[in-house]
């Protein structure tokens, strides 16, 4: 009996001391489960939200503020003509399967991404590469077709991570990277677990274990946070409950910005919408703040063009499309489009469904009737994005620095302007930051003055976390849950 008591006391003491030591595990909530874990073969943001910077690393990486930091490349040199990048890799880097990461792996990764049969979702990132050579195990030379000041930025994307030829085949279910965490297991439909990589080449991470838990229902997400099943929910799906979390000292609400320009995409070739006066009328009919308040519970920054407001090159062009219903009516009358009827197609996210109803009522106020159709993503991609069978739709373009899509005349909003394409060509040739900013400014102004789309707001990142967690990203320069700097405050 006495022995048993001693044992019980010992067990109690053990668990107490474990509780006293700082917690070094974390459970993160995510709305969507990644379809697979290979960031080089899918666009799903959920893939990068698990693996980016945690499991996989690229030559460069995004910092929490969107700056480009060195990652596997220790440093790089740019030739005078801006066409040749020579990357020096970190030494002693190992993949999680204990093989060395060398220049040949970099060559393999880049060549694979730009190959003919590549299924990389961001193949355009690699389109400018002429050749990749592994000069020695730690030196890679990338020759570009044209000078490209953005090349280090492009290499920071999750789609450009460095993978090994011997393990990439199984990356969909068993990712092997070079990152500070390694994959443990994936219970499909429930969670992915990762743990600290003891052989990491860089500074070791503070967390020993992390779990990503997939909870899509907003009520369930709320309950899971409140019950303490989940320590942090970086993209929290129930913004209406954020005030409740704010009032609770156990939690911290993290509001930041994302790269998501939420726009009223307009089919520039669809009948009356080909007339710039009609598009201008739509732009002036929109009251951005009303949409942000009504659909997003006040979270979001109004934008006047397709560019992130936190970017240094952003130009505030909201005045070009300020809320002015009278002007809209006048423009519609001039264009002979009174009593216009348009089809508004809405994909599933709240910003589109709730925002769409507000946009519809704002358009009605100036005499444009809209017929709303709700679509699932797959259907939206087929009909709107690929088939271009729509008049208006609302969607958030979440890729960073994606103003280049306006140079694609066959892109779904069908904006066809040679002058804009010329600007983008100039941008690709420019390397000096001031020159780049000037061109980007001109490009922003051009699409705003052409009223290509209705520019609504920059999507906010609204998250909830346990008040003791430090080091989570506030903003989302790319869609990621970078856990490398995360720790529990004691």
């Amino acid at each position: 009996m006495f022995n048993r008591l001693k044992l019980a006391i010992a067990a109690l003491a053990l668990s107490a001391s474990a509780a006293l030591a700082a917690k070094d595990t974390i459970t993160l909530g995510m709305v969507l489960e990644p379809p697979n874990l290979d960031p080089t073969a899918g666009a799903a943001a959920a893939i990068d939200e698990v693996v980016y910077a945690n499991i996989f690393e690229g030559l460069t990486r995004f910092g929490p503020d969107g700056s480009i930091l060195p990652a596997l490349a220790e440093s790089w040199e740019i030739s005078d003509d801006g066409k040749v990048y020579t990357f020096t890799l970190h030494g002693g880097v190992k993949f999680h399967d204990d093989t060395e990461m060398e220049a040949t792996d970099v060559k393999f990764s880049l060549d694979r991404a730009r190959a003919e049969d590549s299924t990389n979702a961001q193949k355009a990132l690699f389109a400018g590469i002429e050749s990749v050579e592994a000069l020695d195990p730690r030196t890679v030379r990338v020759t570009l077709k044209n000078p490209d000041g953005l090349f280090p930025f492009k290499m920071a994307w999750g789609d450009a991570v460095i993978v090994a030829p011997e393990s990439i085949g199984k990356a969909a279910t068993h990712p092997i990277g070079t990152g500070p965490f390694r994959f443990v297991k994936w219970v499909k439909g429930d969670r992915v677990e990762i743990e600290r990589n003891p052989d990491y080449w860089g500074a070791p991470v503070k967390l020993s274990h992390a779990t990503f838990k997939f909870i899509s229902d907003p009520n369930a997400a709320f309950a899971a946070m409140m019950a303490g099943d989940v320590d942090a929910f970086p993209n929290f799906p129930a913004p209406e409950t954020l005030e409740q979390f704010r009032a609770d000292p156990r939690f911290r609400v993290i509001v930041g910005s994302t790269e998501g320009e939420t726009i009223l995409s307009t089919n520039n070739k669809a009948g009356p919408l080909a007339d710039i006066r009609v598009r201008k009328a739509i732009a002036h009919a929109i009251n951005r703040q009303e949409i942000i308040d009504g659909a997003m519970f006040g979270y979001g920054t109004p934008i006047g063009t397709h560019f992130a407001p936190h970017n240094p090159a952003y130009v505030d062009l909201r005045a070009l499309s300020k809320h002015d219903p009278e002007l809209s009516k006048k423009l519609l009358k001039e264009a002979g489009q009174e009593g216009l009827r348009l089809r508004l197609m809405l994909p599933p996210p709240t910003y589109a469904r709730r925002g769409g109803e507000i946009v519809a009522s704002q358009l009605r106020a100036v005499g444009i009737e809209t017929e709303i159709t709700n679509l699932e993503w797959a259907q939206w991609l087929e009909q709107v994005f690929k088939g271009k069978d729509y008049d208006l739709t609302i969607v958030s373009h979440t890729e960073p620095m994606d103003i280049g899509i306006y140079a694609r005349p066959d892109y779904y909003f069908q904006y066809d302007n040679p002058a804009f394409r010329d600007l983008m060509d100039q941008l690709n040739l420019a390397t000096a930051p001031t020159r780049r900013a000037a061109i980007l400014g001109a490009a922003q102004a051009m699409i705003a003055r052409d009223y290509v789309n209705g520019y609504l707001f920059q999507l906010a990142k609204t998250g909830v976390a346990n008040a003791k967690i430090r080091g989570l990203w506030e903003n989302a320069p790319t869609q990621a849950n970078d856990l490398t700097g995360v720790y529990w405050e004691e």
Binding site: A43, E116, T119, K188, M226, L381, H397, D402
Partner: protein, 315 residues
């Protein structure tokens, strides 16, 4: 008996073939390209085309049907487009949640419904009966996802007795697994138990009017003895029928409850697969559910025989 069995098996096979054609055709008609979904907004058309090739989406509908149906016959469910693992593996993982959950919920249903139904029938027209009828009416009327949310708010958020959802996996131990399934099973069982209790009550009341009950009472049995020894067994047939339907429903229809408790079950698998246009997963899981429903009906038929020897002989 053998001819009867052969006929049943043939109709089972025909039902499955018909179901497979309907399922495949419906999914063929839905717009949406899995490859485009996977590669997103910035993908180049060539990359999408390359992926379509890789996934084998470029054949004709007929040849794809034959591939799929032929695979099913050999027990091969194919490869998931988005997860890139065999569908059989996905189903295997999910069924470890769905099947125990359905069984757990059905067990709770029976444990609640049988005594409650019996008491209501025995005390017909008295306050206990009225109370039970009112309570079961409420049980049917309350939406189960709402009831589930109440359970979560009380037992997880407030009292911290249970987690708000999720499933640790059976390797974490039987107790932990059952604990995780308890709130969902209760939420699923409440309306089912209410239905079953009412069916039980009315079926028992029907049999209580039969001649053999009067005979039993006449030979000296008390009301309670007559109810338990004679009425109960005779009243079970409609109850078994409903239970069969309920089990199929619990297996396939727990989607909403699975969402509320974020359980990795079959319902959520289908739901996810439909949004991602992981068509082969949708087809195979729906097929499996059809199979399960047919088998459950078959089992219920046999159970009739066990409950009522007259039906056994008639065959």
């Amino acid at each position: 008996m053998i001819r009867y069995l052969a006929r049943r098996l043939l109709s089972l096979a025909l039902s499955l073939i018909a179901a497979s054609i309907v399922i495949f055709a419906v999914i063929e008609v839905i717009p949406g390209d899995p490859a485009a979904y996977m590669l997103g907004l910035n993908a180049s058309p060539e990359a999408v085309e390359a992926l379509r090739d890789q996934l084998g989406l470029n054949g004709t509908a007929f040849s794809r049907y034959l591939d799929w149906a032929g695979g099913l016959l050999q027990g091969d469910f194919g490869q998931s487009y988005t997860y890139r693992v065999p569908v059989a593996e996905l189903i295997g993982e999910r069924i470890q949640v769905s099947l125990p959950l359905a069984a757990y919920a059905l067990a709770l249903t029976v444990l609640i419904a049988f005594p409650v139904g019996l008491i209501a029938a025995a005390r017909r027209g008295r306050p206990a009966d009225w109370g039970i009828m009112a309570a079961t009416q409420l049980g049917i009327a309350i939406p189960n996802f709402w009831f589930a949310m109440l359970l979560v708010l009380l037992f997880a958020v407030k009292l911290h007795w249970f987690s708000a959802g999720g499933f640790p996996g059976w390797e974490g131990g039987l107790a932990a697994g059952l604990k995780a399934l308890t709130l969902p099973a209760i939420a699923l069982a409440l309306p089912q138990a209410s239905i079953l209790a009412r069916v039980m009550r009315s079926s028992l009341i029907d049999t209580l009017h039969q001649d053999y009950i009067r005979t039993a009472r006449a030979k000296g049995l008390t009301r309670r003895q007559a109810l338990l020894r004679h009425a109960l067994r005779n009243g079970l047939i409609p109850v078994l029928t409903i239970m069969g339907l309920q089990f199929s429903f619990l297996l396939a229809g727990a989607i909403i409850i699975e969402n509320v408790f974020f359980l990795p079950g079959l319902g959520r698998l289908i739901f996810q697969a439909i949004t991602q246009r992981d068509l082969i997963v949708v087809e195979s899981v729906v097929m499996l559910l059809v199979f399960a429903v047919i088998v459950v009906n078959f089992v219920v038929d046999i159970a009739y025989g066990a409950a009522d020897p007259r039906l056994r002989r008639r065959r």
